[in-house]
């Protein structure tokens, strides 16, 4: 586990990704189903059993209470970092360390670093959001009567 200290950014990054866990991820998934096909088509995502990550332009990312927003580090665009926090270590060093770590596992950039909770994600394999897949994910995580 990579332990990286953080500090508040003076100038926040423009959001390009939204990450949610647990019940917030469920709310996020339902909110996404309320978007039009055109809006959904502009987003990409990856999901696990209890987390949902969506990538896209800031104005296209919906809001739910509890979502964490991430943006691209200007000095190292392969990194998605919290919009309001920056790691204490220089971004370039972090990117190099992650590249080496994930390359061996065949995982591709960009890399998302969540500082709270601490989490590393390689999101190069994110795919376009599809309504049916989103509905299936919501049902698999136990939500009754997903709308859409």
């Amino acid at each position: 586990m990579l332990s990286v200290g953080s500090q508040q950014r003076v100038t926040p990054l423009p959001p390009e990704a939204a990450l949610a866990f647990g019940h917030v991820a469920l709310a996020f998934g339902r909110r996404l189903l309320e978007l039009s096909d055109e809006q959904l088509g502009r987003l990409r995502g990856v999901a696990s059993t209890d987390a949902l990550l969506v990538l896209g332009a800031g104005a296209d990312l919906p809001w739910c209470d509890g979502i964490a927003y991430f943006g691209r580090e200007p000095e190292e665009p392969s990194l998605l970092l919290p919009c309001a926090l920056s790691p204490v270590l220089p971004a370039t060093l972090l990117a190099q360390a992650l590249e080496r770590r994930f390359e061996e596992q065949g995982l591709r950039r960009p890399f998302l670093i969540s500082l709270d909770p601490p989490l590393l994600l390689a999101v190069g394999s994110a795919r376009g959001l599809e309504r049916a897949a989103l509905r299936a994910w919501l049902e698999a995580t136990g939500v009754q009567g997903a709308q859409g």
Partner: protein, 388 residues
Amino acid sequence: MGSDELFGDAELAELVASSSRVQAAVRSAAKGLIEREVLVELIALAAVAEEHVLVIGEPGTAKSEAVRRVARALGGRYFEYLLGRFTEPSELFGPVDLLKLQLGKLETVTAGMLPEADIAFLDEVFVGSTAILNTLLGILNERVFRRGSVDVAAPLRICVGASNKLPDEPALAAFADRFLVRTFVNPVGDSELEALLQAGLSRPSGGRPASLQDLDRLTKARAQVDLTPVQPALAQAIRLLRKSGIALTDRRIVRAQNLVAAAAVLSGRLRASSRDLWPLINAIPTAIEQDTAREVLRELLAESESVLTAAALDASASATARARRLALSAEPLLQAPAPDEPPQSRTLRIEGLLREIDASFPKDALPEPLPAVRERLRGLLAPVVPAP
């Protein structure tokens, strides 16, 4: 050949490591001090820039404690003195060497005194006699101690001077101009009094996160930072300040670049950018002028970013300005909706503002009045799924 190419990989790695250790030293020094993070960070910035700091504030506002902690965290020889009207030069620079005097030479025994200090704090710095100030000028300007037949290099990295107020007399103003970085401290505010009382009973943490070697490495790198990308912006900033009636001496204008370069190198950059312009505010002589400059230069400083977060936030006032702007943006949304506005459009506008609020600040650090604004905006949205 760019700045990055002046350093091989190993040197760059050492530079980054030194920067990390100095950052750790700053955090360690600031821990337990209430509302003094800006001062501690400015001391570190000035040390890397090879400039000095003038702190203006009432007695008992932890000025000397802040400097002492930075000195402890960085190591090196520390000298501190409270000047008075009758302070003799020997109390700062050392006594005359009587043995040498008998041989007809005027030399000073400087062991343990200011000429041999790496970090110095001089309280009531403008109160000293002309003899003291003249000798100090040499140490501050050139890092040379001159007295009688003595002319030796002084290892001083940084001198922090403190005073209740800025001097009025022109002769003292010239001496004050040697302290490039200016910061103004007030007694701790009402909202932090409990924290002050608790911190007052705790002892500072020990340990030395960094060393003077780290500082020297950063200082050497600072001298090689490429400033050409920001010189047009700096010149524009000076013009804007002059238009607002804020005149900086030519010395101050030129040396402010050292602060910009120091900000860059501490943040791991060898090429300065618009993110590193914020220390310009601290090169402005008075508190009122600094406040004016924050407004006048707001757009120029909008991209400020630094590992010295408290100092950069204070200089650019960007967090406060951003919070104010977001609260103003919320006002129309918190009114009753226009009859012809589609509900979906209003929902998107509310979500957009909430997204910007949540992306702009850490969740536990929303500045006023945003917590209440956020809560009211959240209440306007229909819940998607009730929270468990």
